[in-house]
Assembly symmetry: C2
Homo-oligomer: 331 residues x 2
Amino acid sequence: MIMRALIVSLLSIGTIAAPLAASANEPIQPIEAAKPKNEKMVKLGKMLFFDPRLSKSGFISCNSCHNLSLGGTDNLPTSIGHNWFQGPINAPTVLNSSLNLAQFWDGRAKDLKEQAGGPIANPGEMAFTHELTVDVLRSIPEYRARFKELFGADKINIDMVTDAIAAFEETLVTPDSRFDKWLKGDKSALTQAELEGYKLFKESGCTSCHNGPAVGGASFQKFGVHEPYKTASKAEGRFGVTGKDADRFMFKVPTLRNVELTYPYFHDGAAWTLEEAVEIMGRLQLGRKFSKDENAKIVAFLKTLTGKQPELKLPILPPSNNETPRPKPFG
Amino acid sequence: MIMRALIVSLLSIGTIAAPLAASANEPIQPIEAAKPKNEKMVKLGKMLFFDPRLSKSGFISCNSCHNLSLGGTDNLPTSIGHNWFQGPINAPTVLNSSLNLAQFWDGRAKDLKEQAGGPIANPGEMAFTHELTVDVLRSIPEYRARFKELFGADKINIDMVTDAIAAFEETLVTPDSRFDKWLKGDKSALTQAELEGYKLFKESGCTSCHNGPAVGGASFQKFGVHEPYKTASKAEGRFGVTGKDADRFMFKVPTLRNVELTYPYFHDGAAWTLEEAVEIMGRLQLGRKFSKDENAKIVAFLKTLTGKQPELKLPILPPSNNETPRPKPFG
């Protein structure tokens, strides 16, 4: 019995090792579970992510537009900000965002830490200031104690705030999608139609941009290669950052991980269905018209990219007190 | 040793039993942990409570204004609704709300089930309709399956939706506050100042309205007995429900459970601090001016009413699909 167990055990190692090697030849790699470096930092970051007191109104938190019940986004074409301001662009999912080469559609933030400070101070989003954010947190003993424990000094600054938020966001990865199981060797994880969809996805050239563990997020590309993208959106992509004509309509390739959850699609959120998004991408980016059957197979494949969503305990936030600056929801 | 253990054990029973009987003589009783009758119903209700697709915009959920990270309220004077509408009244906490004799400040809903339908269809809150709510849920296979399992038929109506939300809300109780520990016999649970605050709270007459397990919620009372309450609010309390002159400014006595978390206070949310609230209540309701020391002691007592907050796993909501009615955040 012991020998038999040993053999089975050795065989299992074999079956795991071989497909892992095989998936290295695929343009998409599995996502691995997060290994948080500092659990206490992650916990503080989670509290801040859910705390609406990081906004002028006291009503909008990071989670309002990057809702972790909804695939890390708000499922709206463009987001709602302070005073019901209509945002100019679709909120990208926070899930797996640590895998992006840069943050925001135009890549204007180099990493999650730099990104996290943006919406807090954007008048059309959380409409607060970094100074007031720090004042609010400093007034609350539990926050002060947590920052002190993590950063060593009895002070809080916006750098520490964005460090913590980024540390939390780095844990928001979604491993174990059916596609990843297939990549890792479970050949029964996908149906025939899904596999055919993946084959089409590769052969049509989708993987020239949508590749790597995030199935995107690794490059900027022009939206509208074979024909221009028609949109009411005024967003001009990288051009807004670099001012170079060549960067006009260059956007960060979005991740396709959890794409079933992150509708509506594109930087203007104009495509509500995956069928529509696949049709437009084929026509504009690849100069190719997918048949109805091909489109359906690619969509079937895309839905296998839905991974295990982060399991989170809703944080209980420490109350404000008589010293805490008060929210200003109106006026 | 065995005998000694037995004696210690019998003694423990003694120390527990006696104070339990004693707390029956107090005007406030401990809150007991929730015993959900139907776990699956509670789970569905939790999903609905967190689902912003119950609003026209797709942005506002029950949890937006009854935020379970923030004591079951929004910590704003009055709430923000659809299109940033400024609500007319302070959002009462959902925590322990099952203990209220009726729901809303004016008691216009007889129970949690009746309450739950209100905000969904209120143009200044979630601004949706019951019909569209049901259409959204019906379009989503996971919701359809859950309703079918619970209600037996392959259909969804608003009654089932509010049944489930109410079932979840009934679990949102907060036992084990320091005051409850004291009530149950742990005489070290309160400091001397807190005990003196409780004594003052009883002797001044606060407990004539703020009594029972919820320390309130059991009656309607006139706000402004010894002198009128000055406010910009147009709310007239029970008068709006009954049309009787005697009901003008009669409001449901709010629970004081977790009152440290549920600032700002009163139906207009005009009092930001407990000190201010205690001062006003003493003067207007009891015709009594508390000294600074008395006020501080009562406030110290009130802060012992913060109970164990519900521990919740953030629900992962099933995605919309091509059949789901789309949110209309703007216009």
